[in-house]
């Protein structure tokens, strides 16, 4: 069998083809991507100045607040230099809720997707609970878990749970049945099937769910931290509102935005590594 196939696809991207145009493309994309928010910031500044409002700070004032929130030394109040405290508190709740949702949502989704009895048993209940907005759980959650971080974790969990569950179920349901047949003829069946075939085959869909859920988790943290916890970016925003300090509110928003964005990039990087066998699922 020395006939090495004559049809060898070379999957290398045509990147080396022409260096200059590719670089130009890159530079253009960065320039445009930076230019647009800069224009927005300038517009923001102008609108505040022209209207003379005292309710909205200028971008510069927000910048000062951000500096003080990060390093302190300007306002020297309760918020100076506390970014790490609040960020860590929020991340603890975001990832507490998120990983709880992962730990329950993925196994449950695999079983609902693959085992008919479990699907018949749980599907109606889960479908009924699903349309209830997470925020509607707030009062009950405060009764169950009190006014503290556990309530926030629970809300984040609720928000992250359904995207993970539903995408896992969808992933399992849409596995090509031929793969199960192939596995069974090769001696893999029963519970071995879950780890070796069902889970990896559903992985693209599961990662879809993880990414969605992770986004929701960061969105919900503000709601979760409205329940009267003393720390966390959500509580900073709520304090800013109570104190009428819009610069603080916007600073909190920016930190959440940046943290959410950076952690999303991490998830995408993990996604691309885990799904390196399927380039069309790369983020």
């Amino acid at each position: 069998m020395s006939t090495i196939p004559s049809e060898l696809p070379v999957p290398a991207r045509a990147r080396s083809a022409a260096r200059a145009p590719w670089l130009n493309e890159r530079v253009q994309s960065i320039l445009l991507g930076v230019a647009f928010p800069l224009v927005l910031v300038v517009l923001w500044h102008q609108l505040v100045v022209v209207s003379g409002t005292k309710l909205v700070p200028t971008p510069y004032q927000v910048g000062v607040m951000m500096w003080d929130f990060t390093f302190g030394g300007i306002h020297n109040d309760a918020f100076s230099g506390t970014i790490i405290t609040h960020l860590l508190a929020s991340m603890q709740r975001v990832y507490g809720g998120f990983f709880l949702a992962v730990a329950i949502g993925i196994p449950l989704g695999l079983m609902i997707g693959k085992v008919k009895v479990i699907r018949q048993m749980l599907d109606p209940t889960l479908s009924l609970l699903r349309p209830i907005p997470v925020t509607a759980w707030l009062p009950l959650s405060m009764i169950f878990f009190g006014l503290g971080p556990r309530s926030a974790i629970f809300l984040v969990f609720l928000g992250a749970f359904y995207p993970i569950l539903l995408n896992t179920i969808f992933g399992v349901r849409s596995v090509d049945t031929k793969l199960f047949e192939a596995a069974s003829m090769l001696g893999c069946d029963g519970s071995k099937l879950f780890r070796q075939v069902v889970l990896p085959a559903a992985m693209p869909s599961i990662f879809n769910g993880l990414r969605l859920a992770h986004g929701f988790a960061w969105i919900l943290i503000v709601v979760g931290e409205m329940t009267g916890v003393p720390t966390g970016l959500g509580s900073v925003i709520m304090d800013g509102r109570t104190l009428s300090r819009t610069d603080l509110v916007i600073t909190g928003m920016i930190v959440i935005g940046v943290a959410g964005f950076l952690t999303d990039r991490i998830i995408v990087a993990i996604n691309n590594w885990v799904l390196r066998w399927s380039p069309q699922h790369h983020g």
Partner: protein
């Protein structure tokens, strides 16, 4: 050829009066009707017939993916009721595990048997080499051409020590050149391993080139129309005169029933 030397031995594969009816809603489709066929160990048998005559269904019943509505398929006189490692299917669309490399796909069967890693690696290396993919061992399926994927699929079931290779139009999606080289490789592998092959095709040329026997099936409902031994010496040459005689003969058997079967097919559609 030799007079049935297997009479005293246990029958390898026996398809005994197999019928299969699919329920589709309130309606029924009879895919197979009273199919009888025996196949000896080491034989290369091609199933040929018009689309919809039940070739895939028969193969899937042998594989254990479907149960016959009546009748029985047995291997060494044991009834087939489920998929098993003694039978390996090669699908037209490969059905490789896309998240596994070529090496991992081929090693999948041996891994299920909980063999020591050393053996799994040995077996995998052997079959990688047999299908000429050693250099591509660490690629994922999406990085392979169709022909290479089908080589992996063949190696995957052989590495699992299957005795019966079930191939459902395996080369149907490949270009002509790739198909030719794969046909040749398959014949080499068959000669080397003495695995029994049931090969579904709708190319008469492919059937005559490859097989010891061509089983012609007809539709409405699916049954066996003819069972033609191919005694041409190997290696076969598609442009040879005797090759073409055999090819014409089988084409005739195919088309004669197509003409006779036309009203039945119309009825089935209506």
């Amino acid at each position: 050829m030799v007079d049935d030397p297997h009479k005293t031995r246990r029958q390898f594969l026996a398809i005994d009066d197999v019928s299969k009816t699919f329920d589709i809603g309130t309606d029924e489709v009879q895919a197979l009707s009273h199919v009888n066929l025996t196949i000896d160990k080491g034989e290369f048998v091609c199933l040929i017939g018009a689309s919809g005559c039940g070739k895939s269904t028969l193969l899937r019943i042998i594989a254990g993916f479907e149960r016959p509505t009546s009748g029985e398929v047995s291997l060494y006189e044991n009834a087939i009721t489920a998929p098993g490692s003694d039978r390996g299917m090669v699908f037209q669309d490969y059905a490789l595990f896309p998240w596994m490399t070529v090496r991992e796909n081929i090693g999948f069967g041996p891994r299920q048997k909980k063999l020591a890693k050393k053996y799994v690696d040995e077996i995998t290396a052997e079959y990688l080499n047999m299908v000429g993919l050693t250099k591509f061992a660490d690629r994922f399926p999406h990085q392979l051409s169709g022909g290479m994927k089908q080589r992996v699929a063949i190696a995957r079931v052989l590495a699992n020590e299957c005795e019966l290779l079930l191939m459902d139009e395996p080369f149907g999606a490949l270009d002509a050149l790739t198909r030719e080289s794969l046909q040749q490789e398959l014949l080499d592998i068959w000669a080397r391993t003495k695995v029994t092959v049931i090969f579904v095709t709708h190319s008469v040329e492919e059937a005559v080139l490859l097989s010891d026997r061509v089983v012609v099936m007809t539709a409405g409902p699916g049954r066996i129309e003819a069972d033609v031994p191919i005694t041409l010496a190997r290696p076969r040459e598609v442009s040879a005169i005797d090759f073409n005689q055999v090819r014409r003969d089988i084409t005739q058997r195919l088309t004669s029933h197509v003409r006779a079967g036309a009203p039945r097919e119309l009825k089935a559609v209506a």
